[in-house]
Structure formats: structure tokens, C-alpha cells
Symmetry: C2
Subunit: 360 residues, 2 copies
């Protein structure tokens, strides 16, 4: 494949939810066609793409169609089956970000092991594949501690707190008796995140830090740029740069950070993709995270990541969508609705960005 990809080339995307949709819109602005692979024919991204392939992510025929249609393949979620990526690569497809970044992000033990090895601090942690190992890990790390399945789980799913060592058996049952990570608690003051991008030539672009607020395990609100000390910002940028370089990464990556009381940062987790906590860039930056991702995987130079405004992003979850008549009437609210047919509880239906001037 010759990079940079010329306008008119096709970007393949695994996953057709709102992230795929916003990636497709960014790709279209830049003159690309888009091919979406998603099990659901009427998914949000399929409706704005030239080609929509409705099939399971590991369907061999579907992957062949995607590989043949696409000049580069990327994804909107990190739980892409490893076999799917292997098959795409075997078919000669370019895939970005790379398989190693995906594999590391899919396994919480591998992820933290990689992070620590790359010089990025995390909470103390231990792996446990059975109840005995879990009891030993809790004894070693101390309770309270957090148990998460090693693989899968998002928006707070597949995780549980253990307040006392005696609860190990109940926790083991709650997470489904699957291999887990046990994490020491972080006495953090707030959650920050940085959206980072790396291009094919190794150049990087870092957006300013966002400050994230969750409810019921789901991101509710991000405001950016977050007010942080220079030292915190420098530390975040160093962490992001180490991760990008350590993974030989191409694309956009989100780094979720805990800010401790003393301003020190720990990495909570990384997502090898565009991320909800970067939606503020859609209106708050000249080049948003979606265009940045398309630029990176297409081998284009990255665009500027400087903020144009102070932006508050609010997620519209489930019934929040009922507020649409008020939101569209609010002059300062930029609305992004995802085209999902049904507003189920906990489902991300859209978001709103509200902008204020950077200074003052």
C-alpha cells in the first residue's frame, strides 16, 4: 500500500456504532469512501457508508469482502477478535492500529504489565485464574480492592469491589468465575484522560487533558482543557508518548488517568481507538479525534490538536434523548445524535458540546 492514501481510497472499519459513524463522517470530509463491517445491517455507521457488510466480526467471507474493498482497515472498539485481525493480515490488508496494541488492550494484565514496563505507573495489581489465586491476591494487595475480568467488560461491566477478604468467593461468582485482575484502590482526586495520536512517520499529536465524570460506571461528562498544573500536563504527555512509542502505534489512542492527591498520575487503562472522552474535540478543536484517526491510518500528516474553546461534553444516555427538543433550541449547544433506533437504559444515544471562550 502506498501511503499517504489518495482521496478516493476506501477506509474499512470494524464496528458500526457511533464511533464508526463519526469516523465515517470524518473520512467522507476528506474524500474517502468507507466500508463498515458490523453484525447489524441498520447500525449507525452503515447508514453513512458506501459499503456495509452485515456479518459477524469473524466471518471469513465478510472479512474477505472488507479486505478487498479497503485500502486500510481500522476499528471502533478494542474487542475485535484476534482471529479477525489475523485473517485480515493474511489477506494482505493493512490494519491500524496494529495487532499487538489490540492484544495488549484486550487483556488487563498484559496492559498493566506493558504500561509498567514502558515506565507508566499504574495501581498495584495481580492476576488470578482461580479462586485460590484470587484469595492469595486479595491477601497480598489488601482489601478493599477491585476485581475485574481480565478480558472484555466496559462501562463498569464485569467488575466488582471486594470490601473484605472473606468476600472473595462471592466476588469470584459475580464476575463469572473467569480469569481476573485484582487491583489495589487508587486514592484519586479525579479522572483525567488524554487523547493521543501517532502517524505512520512516528510524529505524535496530543490533545489537551480532559476531566471526566462518571455515573453508574458510564462516562457522563468531560470538560476540556482540564485545569492542571504544568507538571501534571507534562507527566500526562510523557505517559502518552511512551505508550504510543512502546506500541509502535498508528492511530488515535485514549489514556485514562487517575490524578492522585499529590498531582501524581497513574494510568487506569488505555483504549486503542477514538474515545468518548475525546468527543469534545468535535467542536473544541480544529481537527477532531475522528479526523485525526483517519489521517493517521491513511498515512496523512496529523492535524493540529490545539483547543479552540473550553468545551463541556455531556453524554445523552437512554432517556436523556427525550431532551432533544430543548437541546436543539439552545444556541450554544452543538448536538451530535447517533441515529440509534431505540433509547435503551445505559445506551449512549448522542452527546452535546457546549463551548466557552478559551480565555476569561
Amino acid at each position: 500500500m502506498d501511503f499517504p492514501l489518495a482521496p478516493g481510497s476506501t477506509i474499512g472499519i470494524l464496528g458500526g456504532g457511533q464511533l464508526g459513524r463519526m469516523l465515517a463522517l470524518a473520512a467522507a470530509r476528506l474524500g474517502f469512501d468507507v466500508a463498515i463491517l458490523d453484525p447489524e445491517a441498520d447500525c449507525p455507521a452503515a447508514r453513512v457508508a458506501k459499503t456495509a457488510i452485515a456479518a459477524a466480526y469473524d466471518d471469513p467471507e465478510a472479512l474477505k469482502t472488507l479486505a478487498e474493498a479497503s485500502d486500510v482497515v481500522t476499528f471502533e472498539f478494542e474487542n475485535v477478535p484476534a482471529e479477525a485481525v489475523e485473517r485480515l493480515l493474511a489477506l494482505g490488508a493493512e490494519v491500524a492500529p496494529n495487532a499487538r496494541a489490540l492484544a495488549i488492550a484486550q487483556d488487563r494484565i498484559d496492559e498493566k504489565t506493558f504500561l509498567n514496563g514502558a515506565g507508566c505507573p499504574t495501581v498495584a495489581f495481580a492476576a488470578a485464574d482461580d479462586l485460590g489465586a484470587l484469595e492469595a491476591a486479595i491477601a497480598s494487595l489488601g482489601a478493599p480492592c477491585l476485581i475485574k475480568t481480565r478480558r472484555e467488560g466496559y462501562d463498569g461491566k464485569g467488575q466488582t469491589w471486594v470490601e473484605h477478604a472473606a468476600e472473595a468467593g462471592a466476588a469470584w461468582a459475580r464476575v463469572g468465575r473467569k480469569p481476573v485482575i485484582v487491583e489495589a484502590p487508587a486514592a484519586f482526586r479525579r479522572e483525567l484522560s488524554v487523547i493521543a495520536a501517532r502517524g505512520r512517520s512516528g510524529e505524535i499529536a496530543l490533545y489537551p487533558l480532559g476531566e471526566n465524570h462518571h455515573e453508574d460506571g458510564i462516562l457522563r461528562r468531560t470538560h476540556a482543557p482540564a485545569e492542571v498544573t504544568d507538571r501534571t500536563r507534562d507527566q500526562a504527555e510523557q505517559i502518552a508518548a511512551r505508550i504510543l512509542a512502546g506500541l509502535d502505534y498508528v492511530g488515535v489512542l485514549a489514556v485514562e488517568l487517575f490524578e492522585l492527591g499529590d498531582g501524581q498520575l497513574l494510568v487506569n487503562e488505555i483504549a486503542p481507538r477514538v474515545h468518548n472522552s475525546g468527543h469534545w474535540t468535535l467542536d473544541g478543536c480544529e481537527v477532531d479525534q475522528f479526523e485525526q484517526q483517519i489521517r493517521a491510518v491513511a498515512g496523512w500528516p496529523l492535524g493540529p490538536a490545539e483547543p479552540l474553546a473550553r468545551t463541556e461534553m455531556i453524554n445523552l444516555i437512554g432517556d436523556d434523548m427525550e431532551q432533544w427538543p430543548e437541546l436543539i433550541a439552545e444556541p450554544g449547544a452543538r448536538v451530535w445524535f447517533y441515529g440509534k433506533r431505540e433509547a435503551r437504559p445505559g445506551r449512549k444515544m448522542g452527546h452535546v458540546n457546549r463551548l466557552r471562550p478559551l480565555k476569561g
Copy 2:
């Protein structure tokens, strides 16, 4: 139809070129689905729309399919056949802007007659349906003067200058012996345009004036906000407001203006649609002309039309697209490529917006 249309509704668009494509992208951001009717199956907008109908604009079956799929139908070009609109209305479809605005914009005599009646000054003009009438019109208005076909013609096509009365016969042949308008020349200093929008409740939003530069009859460059006196701006806003009200207009409309040496404005022509001279709003305003058009036809409140930056828009015409590797590497250049397969001479392939701070 109940307005405002809820997210998830479908916007039908007649015409699938770059304007249809950018309308479709704006609609998608707001949660709408899009149906495109265009004779070419692989047109730029079809590739970002849920539904693409490849058929002639007056094809009865295609219009039925479009009407059934769409909660409101709009268009990207003013030469929509009148029968198509009549048929859509007969099928019970909502069409915006309205048929009268389309009809007036399709006929240069009706257009100038309407404008003068609405209190908007134009050059002196006369209609001529045959060579005798053309000679009489030239004698009355004086040479040099400009001859244009009454209907159709864009980007300088279908028009010719007459330097001396004796050339009437040659000019008549050049424009194809069709009914024409004869226009007195305007001693104008520059061309300005205003992008104006009117919502279903009658509220209006006016973007700042743009200054336009043409080459070979094709728009080459717009910069906005144009530097104008308060008096000129007031006059432009009054003109735009009169046109919108006079047509009971719903949607975005472009008004091309001649600024005379004394700052007085004449209306050159109106376009009942989003317009190339408004592409600067894509990066220079919080809500661009495409979102504004979707908001208007969907019965949503209009968004703010204030500028965020001083913007220079450059069209990429034909071979200009060969500059894409340099343009994508220019940090301050926001590129919009239209996904057209072939860069024919005179064909609009994309545009670039370059932004500078508003003040300073």
C-alpha cells in the same frame, strides 16, 4: 408532518453532488437518515446516504420512492424540474424551500422582477424571446451589455457579452437562440455574497458577508467576513431579509451582490440552496450553512451564524486536486474533498479553508 422533525427522521435530497454530500454529512451529525435522488448511482452524496435512488429527477417511480422514504425533501441545485416538485407535493411530501422560490430562481426575468418588487435593486434589464426583441433590448439598454439565457446556465455557461449593437445576431446564435435576459453592465468594485437562512417559524439567521473572486466564470476564492462599511452590511442584511420574507422561504439561500463604487449594493442573483460562497462557514462558524439548511427544513430552531475566525476558502478545480499531498500537510488548511472520481477541467473537486483569528 410534525415539526420539528425528531432525530431518526429522513431528509430527502434531490441531487447528489458535493452540496448533497455535505448536506448529508450535516444531517447525519444531527441524527437524521438521508435519501438521495440522483441520476448517477456512484455520485458523491450517495456514498454517505442511507438510501440512494439512481434515476432521472422527473422519474415518477423514483419520486414516489423518495417521497415515501422522506419526512421532508430538499434539493442541492435550483434547476430541479418543476414537474418533479409538483409530483412530490401531489404525493403528500413536504418540500422546502418552496416551489415558488425554485420557480423564481429558475428564470432570470422572474428573479429580477421579484427582486425589484421586493425593494432589492438590480441592474437594468429586459427580456427578449427573439432576435428582434434582442436588438430592441440592446438599443434600449445600450452596449456593452450582457446576454444570458433566461433559464439554466451556471458557472458562466449560457452567457455572452455584446460590445456593439451590431453583434446582436452573433450573440443570439452563441446563446443557442433561446429566450434571454439582456442586462446593463454593473460598474462594480467587487462581488459580495450573503448566506441567509429562514426557519419554519420565520426567524432568520444571516452569515457575515463574503467577498468572492471568480476566474473563467467559476468561483475561485471567498474570504469572510468581508471588510465592509456598516452601511453596506446593513443594506445586505435588509436585502436578504426582504428576499427571505418575500418568498416565505424555508432553508438557506445565497444572495450574490455587486458592490458599486459608492458602496451601493445590487443583487446579481439568488440561489435557493446552500452555495459555494458559503463553504467558508464549514470551518469559520459554529453552525455551518449545511447544518443550517438541515435545521431549517427539519423545522429546528436555526443555529448561530456568527463567525469564529476569518476564513479564506479556495476552490480546488480540475487539476488543482493534484495539490492534495501538499494541502493535507499544511497545518492551517482544513481540506474538504468531494470524492469525485475524475478531475475534469472546470469540475469542482474540493475546497480548502484557511483560518486566521478574527481580531488582529
